[in-house]
């Protein structure tokens, strides 16, 4: 039996989240042996497939090329996964892409999937956060096939060079009942939030969307990405893809700078594993200071311009 990793990609580029999922696969492989394969499903995916071939430790890259897979729908890609025999483990990154397809594929195979694993104990036993990361559960599955999504920040990416996997096309067999009308994607001008080395996040304290420009300038000086709390997204200061938290993105950068964010448990759930946390908040009692390594009690409208100046 082998291990299958579902590659995530967009516009002909393999997403780094795939490399974290492969890392979890490598840990499972240390218990099970067998091959580690990667599935690249999509439309016109040749460039992605060759990037996947170069990932360290991959035996075979399976390709499924069809317009039906074009936008990564759960039915088409989940259905395809459920039809691929010979795998004891199927892993995808716990991103909006992976979370959409893995449970679908699992139910098609009468398997209970395991979401968001943060550690591998053995081939059947994993650790995952529950209650917004306020507790961690060690869980053991008795299903014959194991389907999991992998919290990307918990597994260090494997190298995306040096590998020389074989390539094999698989039959395209599933229909996608839904059709894509359009994508409204945010144009990325900075590093991606989930893989950035530095994240500067703003909350309701920013007061409006224009003020986020201050954070962008700080982020640019640090080569970082900009994130936000749910309150800032709900208020329309920034778009949904900025949200960090229990129900948004999980990040674990070298430095997380929280500005005008109170530190609700749902927000902490998405950034508590950052290496260093710094916070600027005018309220000395804000809960964010309980997790911050460095706290500055100050009005952000004076502190942030000063910070930009100093950097």
């Amino acid at each position: 039996m082998s291990i299958l990793i579902i590659a995530e990609h967009a516009e002909g580029v393999l997403k780094p989240s795939t490399l974290n999922a492969v890392a979890a696969g490598v840990e499972i492989q240390s218990h099970t042996g067998g091959d580690l394969d990667v599935l690249v499903a999509g439309h016109e995916i040749a460039p992605v497939a060759s990037q996947a071939q170069a990932i360290q430790g991959v035996a075979t890259v399976l390709t499924a090329d069809s317009p039906a897979y074009g936008f990564g729908g759960a039915a088409s890609i989940g259905g395809l996964i459920a039809n691929l025999a010979g795998y004891s483990h199927v892993l995808a990154p716990a991103t909006s892409y992976g979370k959409n397809i893995i449970p679908f594929a699992a139910a098609k195979q009468d398997v209970q999937a395991i979401s968001d694993i943060t550690a591998v104990r053995d081939a059947k036993t994993f650790v995952r956060p529950i209650y917004a990361g306020n507790a961690f559960a060690t869980v053991e599955t008795s299903d014959a096939i194991v389907l999991v999504t992998v919290r990307t920040t918990a597994f260090e990416a494997v190298a995306d060079t040096g590998g020389s996997a074989a390539m094999r096309a698989v039959d395209v067999m599933t229909a996608e009942p839904t059709t894509l009308l359009r994508n409204e994607l945010t144009k990325l001008e900075r590093p991606e939030l989930t893989s950035a080395r530095v994240v500067v996040s703003g909350g309701r304290g920013m007061q409006n969307g224009e003020n986020f420009a201050m954070l962008e300038r700080v982020a640019d000086k640090l080569g970082g990405a900009v994130g936000a709390s749910r309150a800032a997204v709900d208020a329309g200061y920034v778009t949904n893809d900025y949200q960090v938290g229990q129900t948004g993105k999980v990040v674990a950068p070298e430095l997380y700078l929280a500005v005008g964010i109170s530190g609700a448990i749902q927000h902490l759930a998405g950034m508590k594993d950052s290496k260093v946390i710094a916070a600027i908040n005018k309220d000395a009692d804000a809960p964010i200071f309980q997790v911050a390594d460095y706290g500055l009690v100050a009005d952000l409208f004076t502190a942030i311009p000063e910070l930009e100046e100093t950097l």
């Binding site: 139910a107 529950i130 893809d241 430095l255 706290g295």
Partner: protein, 250 residues
């Protein structure tokens, strides 16, 4: 069209849970319980569809212990028409999806709207599983839902931004935070809800095999972060980040 809205009773989202001393789970006794916030959003979405004349019967379903009835009453007071209580405890998403499959088929619903995630176990699986079991079309993480005669135009929140799908009915939609702001039940509606019907169904009568697949071995507190320091100026902050933490360049 009939619409099914599965709602889950969970520890209130703003409670900081504690792990039990024997590490068997988290303490749920004497803890405030509420309807899962994402389920509230789903109920609100269903009521708005009814107000717009697109839906004529809103059926709530909750799978849980006796107290799940309280959660159903909350949804009825918001404006749902009737409710089904399936008695069971701690089912996994696959078993929940199987039970929902049975109810959705029996009631011949045209649409299921449900939360993207229950904030207790944070699985984020049940809707996707229900779509797989029913072979209905699926749109997860919806922040916009426009129901037409035979398709739904669904706007989804994805990592890179938004995605708009055309979703043929019957369909399963899971909702995200920004779809709407759920209403509070008014006092007259709370009174009216007391008379709305709640049917009780045994899980066994639905033919659902609820044998657990995944066993919880142990539950632990997350590792605590070491206490931090408060600095008194921007200059001191930058100094610490550069020279102590070494996470930014000189």
């Amino acid at each position: 069209m009939k619409i099914l809205v599965p709602v889950k009773r969970v520890v209130d989202a703003y409670v900081k849970v504690r792990v039990k001393a024997d590490n068997s789970g988290v303490e749920t006794n004497n803890v405030k319980m509420s309807m899962n916030p994402f389920c509230e959003i789903a109920v609100e979405a269903a009521i708005r569809l009814k107000e717009a004349g697109k839906v004529d019967d809103i059926i709530l379903v909750s799978i849980g212990g006796k107290q799940a009835v309280e959660t159903l009453r909350t949804g009825l007071a918001m404006g749902a028409d009737r409710a089904i209580h399936i008695e069971a405890t701690d089912l996994e998403p696959l078993a929940v999806a199987k039970a929902l499959h049975a109810i959705a088929t029996k009631e011949e619903v045209g649409l299921v709207i449900m939360g993207k995630q229950a904030v207790d176990n944070d699985h984020n699986q049940t809707g996707q599983m229900l779509a797989a079991l029913t072979d209905w079309s699926l749109a997860t993480f919806c922040s916009g839902v426009d129901v037409g005669d035979d398709t739904v135009e669904a706007t989804r929140e994805i990592d890179g931004g938004l995605q708009v799908l055309s979703v043929p009915l019957p369909a399963v939609l899971t909702v995200d935070l920004r779809l709407n702001e759920p209403r509070y039940a008014s006092l007259p509606n709370i009174m009216k809800a007391r008379k709305k019907p709640i049917d009780t169904v045994a899980l066994a009568d639905l033919g659902v095999d609820d044998t657990p697949r995944v066993r919880t071995v142990r539950v632990e507190e997350p590792p605590a972060r070491a206490a931090g320091v408060v600095v008194d100026s921007v200059a001191a902050l930058v100094d610490k980040l550069q020279n102590e933490a070494k996470v930014i360049g000189q």
